[in-house]
Symmetry: C2
Subunit: 362 residues, 2 copies
C-alpha cells in the first residue's frame, strides 16, 4: 500500500465535480476556465492538499525540470560555492538539482552521468575529473551538457570557466614586481585544462620577464593537503629554495602553510605564499593568505543560464550554439606575500585589489 494520503487529479476532479482536464487547466493556468469552476477546483485542491506528481507530468511532457550536477570534489569550498550559485539560479527558474560527487574518479563520474540520463534530467552540469572527457559523446546528445571549471579537449561544447591563464599571469607578475626571482609553482595533476592554463600563465609571465624557471621549481602533485605539505618540505629544504611559492589550488596551499609552520620559516619575511582560490578561512590563517579569488557563484549561475538556454533551444529544434563563458578573477592581497628577503624594495603589505583583465566572454 504505497499510496498513502496522496491524491490525484482524478480525486480532485471528483470532489470538485469537474473533469480531470479542467483540473489540469486550473493547475497550470492554461486554457479558459470559468471563475466559478476555478474557484471550486482550487477549493478542492486546498482541501485535499493535492500536489501534482512531477514524475507523471515529466513522462508526458518529456521534461523533468531537474538539472543534474556532477562535481569533482564536493568537500572543496570552491565547488560548494559554485553549487550554491547553481542552486540559486536553478530555484529561481523552477528547477530542482540532483547533486553527484565523483570524488575525482572518472569511472564514478561516468556512473553518475549514466544515472542522470536514466533520470532524464533536462541538463547536466559537469565539473569533470580531467579534461580528456569522452563524456560529452555518451551523454551530450540526450541533454545539454555544460562544463564548469574546465574546458574539455574537444572544444565544441558549452563551458564556464575563470580565465585561469590571465589570473596566473597576473599573479606571477605581482610576485615579480615584489622582487621575487626564484618562484616555485606547485600544481595538482596536469590532466585538467584548469591546471594547465595556470601553469602556462605562470610560464608566460616568467618568460616575458626573461627569468628562467629553475629545474625543480615546477612541481606536480595531487590536490590535497598532504601532497602540498610534502612538496613544500621538499622545496624549502632544497639547496636552492624559492623565495615565493605559488600554489595552484587551495588544498595544496594549506599544505605549504603547514610545511612553513613546521620548519619555522617566517612568512612572508623569508618565503611568500600565494594561493589560488579564496575562501572564508583564508583571512584567519597564519598569516592571512594572499590569494586569487574566482567568481565562484557566478560560475554556477552562468552555467545554469547556459543550460536553460540550451534546453529552450532544444525545444524549438534549434541547434545549440557552442559558448565558452570566460570570467574574470581578482587578486586579494593579504599578508602572506611580501618582498623577498634581500630585496630592499617598498614595504610589503599592499592591500590593493587588482583585477585581471580579460575578455568578458566569447
Amino acid at each position: 500500500m504505497p499510496k498513502q494520503n496522496t491524491y490525484t487529479m482524478r480525486d480532485v476532479a471528483r470532489l470538485a465535480g469537474v473533469s480531470v482536464s479542467t483540473v489540469s487547466a486550473v493547475v497550470n493556468q492554461k486554457g479558459i476556465v470559468s471563475p466559478e469552476l476555478t474557484e471550486r477546483v482550487q477549493r478542492a485542491i486546498e482541501a485535499m492538499g493535492f500536489r501534482p506528481h512531477a514524475g507523471a507530468r515529466g513522462l508526458r511532457l518529456g521534461r523533468t525540470h531537474i538539472i543534474g550536477m556532477v562535481l569533482q570534489d564536493i568537500t572543496n569550498p570552491f565547488f560548494v560555492e559554485v553549487m550554491r550559485g547553481v542552486e540559486d539560479e536553478a530555484i529561481k527558474n523552477g528547477y530542482e538539482i540532483i547533486v553527484c560527487n565523483s570524488n575525482g574518479q572518472a569511472e564514478l563520474e561516468q556512473k553518475h552521468l549514466n544515472a542522470l540520463y536514466t533520470q532524464r534530467v533536462d541538463a547536466i552540469l559537469l565539473a569533470p575529473c580531467d579534461s580528456y572527457a569522452a563524456r560529452d559523446v555518451m551523454v551530450g546528445n540526450h541533454a545539454p551538457l555544460v562544463f564548469m571549471d574546465c574546458v574539455p579537449m574537444r572544444a565544441e561544447v558549452l563551458s564556464v570557466v575563470t580565465d585561469n591563464f590571465a589570473a596566473s599571469f597576473e599573479a606571477t607578475r605581482y610576485l615579480l614586481e615584489l622582487g621575487h626571482r626564484k618562484i616555485a609553482v606547485i600544481s595538482g595533476r596536469g590532466v585538467h585544462s584548469t591546471s594547465m592554463d595556470r601553469v602556462e600563465g605562470f610560464r608566460h609571465a616568467m618568460e616575458e620577464a626573461h627569468i628562467p624557471i629553475l629545474g625543480d621549481h615546477l612541481r606536480h602533485g595531487v590536490s590535497n593537503i598532504e601532497s602540498g605539505y610534502e612538496i613544500g618540505l621538499s622545496l624549502l629544504q632544497s639547496s636552492d629554495p624559492p623565495t615565493a611559492i605559488f600554489a595552484l589550488n587551495n588544498r595544496m596551499t594549506l599544505g605549504i602553510l603547514q610545511a612553513l609552520r613546521e620548519l619555522k620559516i617566517p612568512c612572508p619575511e623569508q618565503v611568500s605564499v600565494l594561493g589560488f582560490d579564496d575562501f572564508d578561512w583564508a583571512a584567519v590563517s597564519d598569516p592571512p593568505l594572499s590569494a586569487i579569488a574566482q567568481p565562484t557563484d557566478e560560475i554556477g549561475r552562468r552555467a545554469v543560464e547556459l543550460a536553460l538556454g540550451a534546453i529552450r533551444a532544444g525545444e524549438e529544434g534549434a541547434k545549440v550554439g557552442n559558448r565558452q563563458v570566460l570570467l574574470k578573477s581578482s587578486l586579494r592581497i593579504r599578508k602572506s606575500t611580501g618582498p623577498p628577503p634581500k630585496a630592499l624594495g617598498e614595504k610589503s603589505h599592499r592591500t590593493v585589489k587588482s583585477e585581471t583583465v580579460t575578455a568578458p566572454q566569447s
Copy 2:
C-alpha cells in the same frame, strides 16, 4: 521534438523481436527468460544505448529512488561533510539525491519541502532552520522524514544528532581543568535544539564545579563570522574579560579569532579559544584551533540508513518506529587552548584526544 536519440522498451523489443514485457524482465532480471532471448535483448539494448526511463518506472512503481535533502546552510563545511556521508550511503543503495539549500530561511525551507513532495521523493532528510518545525505535519505523512543535527520539539520522529550536551559538558570540563574560571560562551540563535543543548552542557559543567557564570559571559548572536567578531570585541574589551571563550559554532569561532588578532591579544597565553566543529583549515589557523569534532559523515550515513529502513517499513505497511540516533563527538586539542594567564599549572599544549562518553543510541 523533445525526444532525440532516446529509445524506449518498445524500440528495443521491436529490434530484438520480442515483447515489451520480455525486455522488462531482462532489464530487471525478474521472471524466467530463456538464455537465447536474454542474449538477443541484451544485444539490442547495447546497440541502441537504451536506458530505462526512471520517471516512467517511478510512476508505475510509486517509488522514485530519489532522496531529498534540505540543508540549513550549504556553505558550512559541517553540512557539506554531512552531505558527503549522505551521498556515499545513498549511491551505495542505488539512490540519487536532490539537494536544497534553505539558507536559514524557514519559508524557503517549506518551499523546498513542498517541491520535494511534488517530486515524490522516497524520503526527506532535513537539517532545519529551527527546532519548532511544524514541517513534519505537512510532509511526514507522504514520505519518511529524518532530522539531522536537530531534535525537533515534537519528539515522535526520526533523527540523527551528535550528543551536543555531552560534547559541550566535556569541553567545559576540559577548560575548567586547565584552570579557567571566567569562561564565556557565544552561540547562534537559540531556536535550535543543537544550540540549546550545547548551552545546557556548559551550564551543567559550571554548576557542577560551583563556578558562577558571569552576567554577560553568555552571549547569543547569529552564526556567522561578523557576529562572532563583534561579540568577541565586546567580550574582550569589557571591564572583566574572560580567560577562555567557547564558541558554539564554527563561523563564530573564526570571528573570535579575528577579534583576537585585531586586538593583538595572544592566544592561548592570555585568552584560550575552543571551537565547536572541526575542519581541514582549523589546523592551519593562527593558532591551530582546539575544537570539538562531530562525526559528520556518519551523521549523513546514519540518516540515510534510517530513511531506507523507514521506506522499507512503509512498503510492508509496518509502522515506522521513532528512532533517535545519538552519536559521540571527540575533542581535538591543538594550540588555541592553554591555562589562564595567572595560573601556574602544567604546561599548556596537551595533545591527547579525549572522547565524550555517551549512550551510543536509543
